[in-house]
C-alpha cells in the first residue's frame, strides 16, 4: 500500500483495522543473487538501493534478531555532514542529500528534522579549529556558520556561558544537520526493499560463510544453508565475528556506547547541541525527552550495556554545560555494540575473497551515513568495484598508510 493523506483518512475512518503489515516476514530461499548479512540501517538501505538503482531484486537480508534491534534503533539519531578530511566530506554530504529526499524516495515518514547541529567552542584555539572546519565544509559546498557568543545565547539561553570552567564562546552551526526517527529508517527501507521483492528474514543468524576455490558460495544459517553468488557483510558491531567466518581479520574492535533519555518536558532544546570541552551531545525528541550521550566506555565489549562510571561522566558533562539538567529525572539508558575502527573511519570495499563484500567500522557515527553507505555499498556489490564517493574507505588503507583519522588519535580504537 502507498501511504498518502487519503490512505490516512480512509484508515482512520475504518478504525485503523485495515492497515497491512509493512513488510513480509520472509523465510530464506535456497539461493539468492545477493545475501546481505545484518538487517540494520546499512543492510536494509543497501537492499533498497540494490533493488532500485541496480535492478538486483533477488536479495535476502538475513538478520539474526529483529530488524531495528541493533544500533539503528539504539543511536541518538543525529545526522550531519560537518567533516574535515577529503574522503569523508563528499561522502557525508551525499548522505545528507539522500536524507533530504528520503521520505519521498521510500514513501515513508522518517520524521527528518533539519533543526541544526551546533558544535560549541570554549577557547580561542578551538574557535580557530572550528573556523577551519567550517571553511573546509563551505569549500566543499556544505553549509556552515560560525556563531559568536551572542548568537549562541539567542538560540540556547540556558547554557552556562560565563561561570563554567569552560565558558561557551560560540559555535559552529550546520543548519541542515538535525535528527531522524531511527526506527522509521529501518522500517522504511525494509518496506521499500520488500516492495521490490527483497526478502527480509528475521531470526536468521549467519553462522558460517562457505568459500569454494577462493569464491564465496553461500552462508550457513540457523535456518540452513543459503546459496549466494554474492555475500555482503553489514553486521555493525559484529563485523569482526562475521568476517572471521571467512578467515578475515579486521582493523576493528567492538566497543559499547551508551545513550540516555530524560523525562518529557516542553520544547527546550531546539537544535542538536554538542559540548566542545568534553564529549557530550544533546537534543530533544518529539515526545519531549532530552536525548543525550557522551564517550564510549573504552574497553572491548559485546555486552550491549555499559557501566556506571560512564553514566556519571556523561551527567557531569551535561551539568557543566546545562546546569538545569540537574532538575530532570533520567528515564532510561541503554548501550549498543559498535565497530570501532583503527582510524575512526569506516570500510566499504571488496575483499580478497571473490564475491564477498564488506561494510564495517562505522564507530559511533554510522547512523547519519546510512543512506550513502547503502548507496555506495550497493554499487560496490553490483559493479564489483568501489564507488567514487566511498573510494577512500578501502580495507587496505591500513597497510598503505592512507588513514582517515578525523580526530588524529592514532591506532587506539577507544580514543576515536
Amino acid at each position: 500500500m502507498r501511504y498518502s493523506a487519503l490512505s490516512l483518512v480512509k484508515n482512520a475512518l475504518t478504525g485503523n483495522r485495515n492497515w497491512k503489515p509493512v513488510w513480509r516476514d520472509a523465510s530464506p530461499k535456497e539461493a539468492y543473487d545477493v545475501v546481505i548479512v545484518g538487517g540494520g540501517g546499512h543492510g536494509l538501505a543497501t537492499a533498497h538501493y540494490l533493488a532500485k538503482e541496480h535492478g538486483i531484486t533477488n536479495v535476502g537480508v538475513l538478520e539474526k534478531s529483529t530488524i531495528g534491534s541493533g544500533n539503528v534503533g539504539r543511536n541518538t539519531t543525529i545526522i550531519r555532514s560537518n567533516y574535515l578530511l577529503p574522503g569523508n566530506t563528499a561522502f557525508y554530504e551525499w548522505s545528507m542529500k539522500l536524507w533530504e529526499k528520503l521520505e519521498q524516495d521510500i514513501n515513508y515518514n522518517a520524521m527528518i528534522s533539519q533543526r541544526g547541529v551546533l558544535n560549541l567552542f570554549h577557547s580561542d584555539a578551538q574557535r580557530d579549529a572550528f573556523a577551519r572546519r567550517g571553511n573546509a565544509m563551505r569549500m566543499n559546498g556544505v553549509d556552515a556558520d560560525l556563531l559568536d557568543q551572542d548568537q549562541v545565547r539567542a538560540m540556547a539561553p540556558y547554557l552556562d556561558f560565563e561561570t563554567a570552567r569552560f565558558p561557551v564562546k560560540g559555535g559552529l552551526l550546520q543548519k541542515r544537520g538535525g535528527t531522524v526517527r531511527h526506527d522509521a529508517v529501518a522500517w522504511g527501507y525494509a518496506r521499500a526493499a520488500d516492495q521490490r521483492g527483497v526478502d527480509i528474514c528475521q531470526n536468521c543468524e549467519v553462522t558460517g560463510i562457505r568459500v569454494e576455490n577462493g569464491r564465496v558460495a553461500g552462508v550457513e544459517t540457523t535456518k540452513g544453508f543459503v546459496r549466494a553468488r554474492k555475500v555482503a557483510l553489514a553486521a555493525a558491531g559484529h563485523s569482526s565475528r562475521v568476517a572471521a567466518m571467512a578467515g578475515l581479520r579486521l582493523p576493528i574492535e567492538s566497543h559499547v556506547l551508551q545513550a540516555f533519555v530524560s523525562e518529557g518536558i516542553k520544547p527546550l532544546v531546539h537544535q542538536v547541541i554538542t559540548f566542545g570541552a568534553g564529549h557530550f551531545y544533546i537534543s530533544q525528541s518529539d515526545k519531549g525527552g532530552l536525548v543525550f550521550g557522551g564517550d564510549i566506555d573504552g574497553y572491548n565489549s559485546y555486552a550491549q550495556r555499559g557501566s556506571l562510571p560512564l553514566v556519571e561522566q556523561v551527567m557531569e558533562e551535561g551539568m557543566a554545560l546545562m546546569p538545569m539538567l540537574g532538575r530532570l529525572r533520567m528515564l532510561r539508558s541503554w548501550g549498543g555494540v559498535m565497530d570501532m575502527s583503527m582510524d575512526g573511519s569506516p570500510i566499504i570495499d571488496v575483499t580478497p575473497i571473490e564475491g564477498l563484500y564488506l561494510n564495517a567500522g562505522w564507530c559511533y557515527g554510522g547512523f547519519k551515513a546510512t543512506p550513502a553507505s547503502g548507496w555506495c555499498f550497493a554499487h560496490t556489490i553490483a559493479q564489483n568495484q568501489r564507488h567514487p564517493l566511498s573510494a577512500a574507505f578501502r580495507l587496505d588503507r591500513f597497510a598503505s598508510g592512507h588513514l582517515i583519522d578525523e580526530k588524529g588519535s592514532g591506532a587506539m580504537p577507544n580514543l576515536h
Partner: protein, 90 residues
C-alpha cells in the same frame, strides 16, 4: 565493572585506564611491513575471553594484564604486567 588490583584490592573500573589489547605481540626485528600492519592494526576482537592492558592510574599506578569476558564484562584474571607471561600472546 570492578577490577581486583594485586596491590590495592577490588576497585571500581574508573580508577583504571584501559590501554587496549594484550593479545598482540610486537614483531621485534621483523623487516616485513605486513608483520607491522598486523601488529598495529589487526585484531581478533573475540566475543569471550580477552587479555587487555589496564593502568591503575588513580591507585598504585601499576600496569596490569587483565583477562576479561567481553560478553559479560566478568574479570577472569588479573596479573601485574611485569609478571604476565608474554609467550602466550598470539
Amino acid at each position: 565493572m570492578r577490577i581486583t588490583c594485586p596491590t590495592c584490592g577490588e576497585r571500581t573500573a574508573d580508577e583504571f585506564v584501559s590501554a587496549g589489547s594484550a593479545e598482540v605481540r610486537r614483531p621485534e626485528g621483523s623487516d616485513n611491513p605486513q608483520d607491522w600492519v598486523t601488529y598495529v592494526y589487526l585484531r581478533d576482537n573475540p566475543a569471550g575471553q580477552h587479555r587487555e592492558w589496564f593502568f591503575h592510574a588513580a591507585g598504585c599506578r601499576t600496569w596490569l594484564q587483565v583477562t576479561r569476558d567481553t560478553r559479560t564484562h566478568a574479570i577472569v584474571a588479573v596479573a601485574e604486567a611485569a609478571l604476565a607471561k608474554p609467550d602466550v600472546a598470539a
